[in-house]
């Protein structure tokens, strides 16, 4: 199947500032693909390049197999919801949504049902006669999204469209957006720097960082077994714990030393991934930090001080001092209790993920 979108060897710089360096990625037809990365990593730029609002210095962009690198924006058949949406203040909601169709010269007979359908999908049918200044922030955002999806196309790009909305409003829109993708049988390309939003929306995820895609794939696979330290650091809430560590050989074994523990790990010392004394990032997800664990084989138990407990209602997040390090832990409903004060924590070596400091790539450990 032809990819819906392909970026091939894209470079884009502003004077000395290289934002995208030799970036390549493909987006599957019919997928909900989230391009996720920290603020100012070039996500918006990527979408602006796709929309034709910016030109790459190098490289090519393909839409459904066709090279559109040289095409002007209006010749690229895309629905686009920009990050800062400006509604026309003197137009009613209806005319704001209809605008891209009017611009394309569509007839009234086409415009009316299309606008009404988009408004229904976004639950704003009752607002069509209002003016933008009569709307709340969340309603305006829905109008902007509706305007982006009226185009008769199969590819929609949404540039962080929910940013600034409070979480409850965003929560409602997550489902609407996913439903819209299914109803329109289209490809959605969506950028965000919010980890929970990325997790809720993505079927496919592309992690964009430092000018390139560090990792891409099916969301659950990427989340559960990140291949790159940046993925581990960026994707997940609360954020993963990452400690500096060092691998060294002792007899036939490899051991891992950090500021809070020193333990044997299952890594073949003759493996190409291993060098004696190599430095690593040691990652541990907050849900894998055990609180007041029972002593058991293989679990490392440490004295700790829980300095703050946040109550999320259905979960608790703890901030914990262990020796000189600070760790985050999270527990769900019924999975025990977090209380501020002295405590013990447990770490199971199998829960640790190691990444070479030099390359950021994962060092695969053998099974026990």
């Amino acid at each position: 199947m032809t990819a819906a979108v392909e970026f091939r060897n894209i470079r884009k710089a502003y004077q000395q500032n290289v934002v995208l360096r030799d970036l390549s990625l493909t987006i599957e037809q019919g997928s909900f693909t989230v391009i996720y990365g920290p603020p100012a990593c070039g996500k918006s730029l990527l979408l602006r390049l796709l929309a034709g609002l910016e030109k790459p210095d190098k490289g090519h962009i393909f839409l459904s197999g066709e090279d559109v690198t040289g095409l002007s924006p209006e010749k690229r058949n895309l629905g686009y919801v920009p990050q800062s949406f400006a509604l026309y203040p003197h137009y009613r909601v209806y005319d704001n949504i209809a605008y891209p169709l009017t611009l394309a010269g569509a007839s009234k007979a086409v415009i009316r049902p299309t606008v009404e359908h988009a408004a229904a999908a976004l639950k704003i049918s009752h607002l069509l006669k209002k003016y933008p200044n009569q709307l709340s922030g969340g309603e305006k955002q829905r109008v902007a999204i509706a305007r982006g999806i009226v185009k008769d196309t199969k590819i929609f790009i949404l540039d962080d469209p929910l940013t600034g909305l409070d979480f409850k409003l965003r929560e409602q829109l997550f489902e609407d957006l996913r439903q819209m993708k299914t109803d329109l049988a289209a490809t959605f390309i969506y950028t965000t720097s919010d980890t929970l939003e990325a997790l809720m929306l993505a079927e496919q995820i592309k992690i964009l960082d430092q000018g390139g895609i560090v990792e891409a794939g099916d969301l659950e696979a990427v989340y559960s077994h990140p291949q790159h330290i940046r993925t581990m650091a960026l994707l997940g809430f609360p954020e993963a714990n990452i400690l500096p560590g060092r691998l060294y050989k002792e007899g036939d074994c490899v051991r891992l030393k950090t500021d809070i523990f020193d333990l044997p790990i299952y890594l073949d010392p003759s493996s190409a991934d291993f060098a004696d004394g190599m430095l690593v990032h040691v990652a541990l997800r907050p849900q894998d930090v055990r609180i007041n664990p029972r002593q058991a084989n293989g679990i490392l138990v440490k004295k700790a001080e829980i300095t703050l407990v946040e109550d999320l209602g259905g979960e608790m997040v703890g901030y914990i001092d262990v020796d000189s390090m600070s760790l985050r832990a999270v527990i769900g409903q019924g999975a025990g209790e977090l209380v501020e004060g002295a405590s013990t924590i447990g770490i199971h070596p199998d829960a640790l993920a190691l990444y070479a400091l030099e390359t950021g790539r994962r060092v695969e450990l053998g099974a026990r």
């Binding site: 709340s136 922030g137 409070d166 979480f167 409850k168 929560e171 996913r178 929970l196 997790l199 809720m200 969301l219 659950e220 989340y223 997940g236 809430f237 609360p238 954020e239 997800r285 907050p286 849900q287 300095t307 703050l308 407990v309 946040e310 109550d311 999320l312 209602g313 259905g314 979960e315 997040v317 901030y319 999270v330 527990i331 769900g332 409903q333 019924g334 999975a335």
Partner: protein, 365 residues
């Protein structure tokens, strides 16, 4: 420390009623969070207490003293705003000291002791001699907090003080605020739209919607026993499930059955309601592959990863969809059939209009 009492407080801006006849007491030496979505009136309420806004009608008392006509400075209140207010061109120590110098009753030694104490609690030692302009937003906000606290006013008002600081400073400020509260026992009102902040910092939460108080209680009361549908929805990520049920009659007793209950559930205290909303939080819904006596069959439509690697399942049961949150290690695949149980002890009943009512639920023997 002071008790704050508002009586029939109302605020109108032209046609808009921002505060609708609120009567409430904020007890002395407690932290109360005003929580609600934007536009609910929480900031207006705080500004009226501060004296920055005059009410359209109603009274404001601090310890039985009517303060309506007192200016903000006469009210002896400390305030911390969303954006840190600091004096540029002065170092950190001077910033905290400045308001104390205006009060001649504070001795030099006392001044020093107060400043050193807040500097320690807020972990500002490393910043003491530094010029404000070299510091990041989070540190500046800590200074603003330190200044408000060191003055030891009878009341401190916080208006979304950690909304605009980075993640690490957020954690540090939360930790410091909790410590300060223990040390000083001032009456604190804290405005936020963030439920986690409110649940973490508050002794009491006042949940607001459209200019009215929806509920006033401890964080766990508000979360576990919402007194209307709005509270159940607003707190929690995602909020509570609500499923409509018709009340059924049999032999003079009243029952609930489908869609959520496989065995009829006898219900008392209905007060004539023929229809009710059954509320249950996603983390309280039990999902399993094995059939159990009280479970109903369902199909998993969607699985998402949420906080702490837990899975949020969207499950179709008898024509309805409900959400369930399950632990990270629970493996439920999309499009598989599961058994879903809603334990009675975690169910809250609401009237069709959304008000909570006290009902008794029990399975029939």
């Amino acid at each position: 420390m002071s008790e704050i009492r508002l009586v029939n407080l109302r605020k109108e801006f032209k046609e808009l009623v921002a505060i609708r006849d609120i009567t409430i007491t904020f007890p002395t030496a407690t932290v109360t969070c005003l929580l609600g979505p934007s536009g609910c009136g929480k900031t207006t309420l705080m500004r009226i207490i501060a004296g920055l806004e005059q009410p359209s009608s109603g009274e404001i008392y601090f310890d039985n003293e009517l303060v309506n006509d007192l200016s903000p400075s006469e009210r002896n209140i400390g305030m911390v705003f969303q954006y840190p207010v600091v004096y540029r061109g002065m170092d950190v120590y001077r910033n905290i000291e400045l308001p104390l110098l205006q009060n001649s009753r504070i001795s030099k030694a006392e001044r020093k002791a107060r400043i050193e104490s807040v500097i320690e609690t807020l972990d500002l030692t490393h910043a003491v001699g530094k010029d404000i302009s070299t510091l990041d937003n989070g540190t500046r906000q800590k200074i603003a907090v330190a200044r408000a606290v060191a003055r030891q006013p009878r009341i401190i008002l916080f208006d979304e003080p950690i909304t605009n600081v980075d993640v690490n400073s957020k954690v540090q400020l939360k930790r410091a605020l909790k410590k300060l509260v223990k040390q000083h026992s001032q009456t604190i009102i804290y405005v936020t739209h963030d439920q986690t902040e409110a649940m973490t910092l508050a002794d009491d939460i006042v949940l607001m919607q459209a200019g009215e108080i929806v509920q006033h209680g401890t964080p766990r009361e508000i979360y576990d026993y919402p007194n209307n549908r709005f509270g159940g929805w607003f707190l929690g990520n995602p909020g509570m499930n609500f499923v409509e049920h018709q009340v059924q009659h049999n032999d003079g007793a009243k029952y609930l059955s489908e869609p959520l209950f496989r065995q009829p559930v006898q219900v008392t205290g209905l007060n004539g309601h023929r229809q009710v909303l059954v509320g249950i939080r996603p983390e309280r819904v039990r999902v399993q592959y094995e059939r159990t006596p009280f479970a109903i069959p369902g199909t998993i439509l969607k699985r998402s990863i949420v906080v702490g690697g837990q899975h949020l399942l969207t499950i179709k049961v008898d024509g309805q969809t409900i959400k369930a949150k399950v632990p990270p290690d629970a493996i439920f695949d999309e499009q598989t059939h599961v058994w879903v149980e809603c334990p009675l002890e975690h169910i809250t009943l609401f009237e069709p209009e959304g008000r909570w009512f006290e009902a008794g639920l029990s399975y029939v023997d």
